[in-house]
């Protein structure tokens, strides 16, 4: 056997030189800055899309819409700054306090964009509020019966009205109602009864609460959960889920499209 005793020569490939390493770092930095600019401008575009097409109403109380304008302006500004740094080749990937922004960080920040674009936007429905459903509540404030025409009251107005202190449910007997809501059905409800519900949002969907009005109707058992309906009828006091409450005796139930603003704001 012959041993090779010649001194081993290290092969220096083009990738091992300091210049090549710098070039690789430069490439990585440029890619990273490009993706960062993409995420920032993508999020800006996502907010603009939501504002333009009304999807924002699925997520927040529109009273706070101005916050999304702030987000659009700042996402746009930061995205443009990232693009300028790309053009200036000024994309050192190190923050002012010398920490690294890594690919995994950028990936996490892209998640809202991915969820927002890949999962169809829709409001929270029956499955989100059925465990947190109020038939009478004073938590949204109480309005006087006389303040609004009964036929103009929405479901929240009625629930507030029912919550007036010291008023018996039979006070509302014979009052006509006409409002829109979605159907919640449950095997524990009496036959021929469903709840016509709305979701109430103060700030964003994190604080969502359901309010509902029990409805008796001959065709109630055939109504599918989450179906949006416009109901008309008169109230009559009764017992629903061991609670004495006004129950809407529906005379007309019409299936309608989901409203532009699916939530009610107290």
């Amino acid at each position: 056997m012959q041993l090779d005793i010649r001194p081993q020569q290290t092969q220096i490939t083009p990738n091992d030189t300091p210049q090549a390493a710098n070039r690789a770092d430069d490439d990585n930095g440029r890619w990273m800055e490009t993706v960062k600019a993409g995420v920032l401008l993508g999020l800006c575009g996502y907010f603009v899309y939501n504002i333009a097409f009304g999807d924002l109403a699925n997520y927040i109380n529109l009273r706070f819409m101005w916050l999304t304008y702030v987000a659009v302006a700042l996402f746009g500004l930061l995205g443009i700054i990232s693009v300028i740094s790309l053009l200036r080749r000024d994309y050192n990937n190190v923050t002012s306090d010398h920490t690294l922004i890594r690919w995994d960080v950028i990936l996490i920040m892209a998640l809202p964009l991915l969820f927002g674009t890949l999962v169809p936007s829709q409001p929270l429905g029956a499955s989100a509020v059925r465990d947190n459903l109020n038939f009478q509540t004073a938590s949204f404030g109480v309005v006087q019966v006389a303040e609004k025409d009964p036929l103009d009251r929405n479901a929240l107005d009625w629930v507030r009205t029912f919550a007036q202190p010291g008023i018996h449910p039979s006070t509302f007997d014979g009052l006509e109602a006409d409002f829109v809501g979605f159907i919640i059905s449950d095997p524990t409800y009496p036959p021929g009864h469903v709840v016509v519900a709305r979701s109430v949002v103060r700030c964003c969907v994190v604080d969502i609460e359901g309010i509902g009005i029990p409805m008796a109707w001959a065709g109630a058992d055939d109504l599918r959960e989450d179906t949006w309906v416009r109901v008309r009828g008169v109230f009559e006091a009764g017992t629903f889920m061991d609670q004495r409450t006004p129950i809407l005796q529906a005379t007309d139930v019409e299936i309608v499209p989901q409203p532009d603003r699916p939530y009610l704001y107290p």
Binding site: I60, I108, N132
Partner: protein, 345 residues
């Protein structure tokens, strides 16, 4: 010629990345198991996504405002400015920290990047901690929202006053504890410490033009957004997951009695992670709960919830984050209990 500075606190980025990705994989697995355990996985996933995006859309503008201010601070505020502005007496300085929310009116998402930047400028630990804990409540926006929410509610005046008094006292107390016991190198993560002990570069690199200064500050803001935003994203996902898979009504059903009601409201505040600018409106829905528990909700939540806990981890070492949650937790628990037992409102 640019001088390359050593990257402090960037130990083994590959290992950190792998850990994050592994954590992400585990979270995805847990999510899949939880979804498959529900009656309707598709509806549960849709609910989770809507809640996650709702929380993100509501909170991210505040984070953006925070990193915007952080960038400006980095370029235009020097360590000497901080020293000059704050009282020399540590107790007065900590008190001033608790009131700094009136200068930087930010919620819990925006306050973290601002505090981190101020720490890197040499802000004292006690002042920064007091600011961090108090600012989400002690600012004009939250004062107005709390007033609007509670001005006509039963015991509303007391709740409004006590919310601010309790928050200020707890922030001051925790801040002073940090002043006595904590040193920056024991408490802050390396990334928040980097500027300490080094020459402040702000003065030597004063921008020559407004445009240059703005560009530099916004470059800092971009990186701060990514650095801090990941904690907001993960926190929002956790909060959305908790809301989707844990019944809120089941938690509320537990809320009877002077002690249990406070604990339940603290748990809700921590899990729901609602922004402090609007949490007063949410607290209104808990009218059946005791006044002490509502106050615990309104004071503990802005100091510690899932998303702010994760954002604190960008600034402090994990042990310190535990103290920053446990101390306000115990203090609000005791105060809430005392109000339930002894206060006549």
């Amino acid at each position: 010629m640019a001088i390359e500075q050593p990257i402090i606190g960037a130990k083994s980025p590959l290992r950190d990345s792998m850990m994050w990705l592994a954590g992400f994989g585990v979270a995805a697995l847990v999510m899949a198991i939880l979804l498959s355990s529900t009656d309707n996985p598709a509806a549960a996933f849709s609910n989770f996504t809507t809640r996650f995006l709702g929380l993100f859309i509501e909170a991210v503008p505040f984070l953006l405002l925070g990193v915007f201010v952080s960038g400006l601070l980095e370029v235009y505020v020097t360590r000497e400015d901080i020293v000059r502005w704050l009282p020399r007496n540590p107790i007065l300085a900590t008190g001033a920290g608790a009131l700094m929310g009136f200068v930087f009116p930010v919620c819990e998402c925006g306050v973290v990047p601002v505090t981190r930047r101020l720490f890197s400028k040499g802000l004292a630990m006690s002042v920064g901690v007091a600011f961090l804990l108090a600012a989400p409540v002690m600012n004009p926006i939250v004062m107005v929202s709390t007033y609007i929410a509670f001005s006509t509610a039963p015991s509303g005046t007391e709740i409004i006053i006590f919310r601010f008094v309790i928050t200020a006292l707890i922030a001051l107390a925790v801040g002073l504890l940090f002043a006595l016991a904590a040193r920056p190198h024991q408490t802050l993560r390396p990334m928040s410490l980097n500027a300490l002990g080094q020459a402040d570069t702000t003065l030597s690199q004063r921008p020559r033009t407004v445009r240059e200064g703005f560009y530099r500050s916004m470059r800092v803001s971009v990186n701060d957004f990514f650095e801090m935003g990941r904690f907001l994203v993960i926190g929002a996902m956790l909060a959305a997951g908790m809301q989707t898979f844990i019944s809120q009504s089941a938690l509320q059903a537990l809320g009877e009695g002077p002690l249990l009601s406070v604990l339940v409201m603290q748990a809700l505040a921590f899990l729901l992670s609602v922004c402090s600018t609007v949490d007063a409106f949410l607290a209104l829905s808990f009218t059946t709960f005791s006044t002490g528990s509502i106050l615990a909700f309104l004071t503990f939540g802005p100091m510690a919830d899932i998303k702010s806990m994760l954002m604190y981890l960008a600034v402090f070492k994990p042990r310190v984050v535990a103290y920053m949650i446990l101390l306000p937790f115990l203090m609000t628990l005791l105060i809430g209990l005392w109000i339930n037992l002894f206060a006549a409102f």
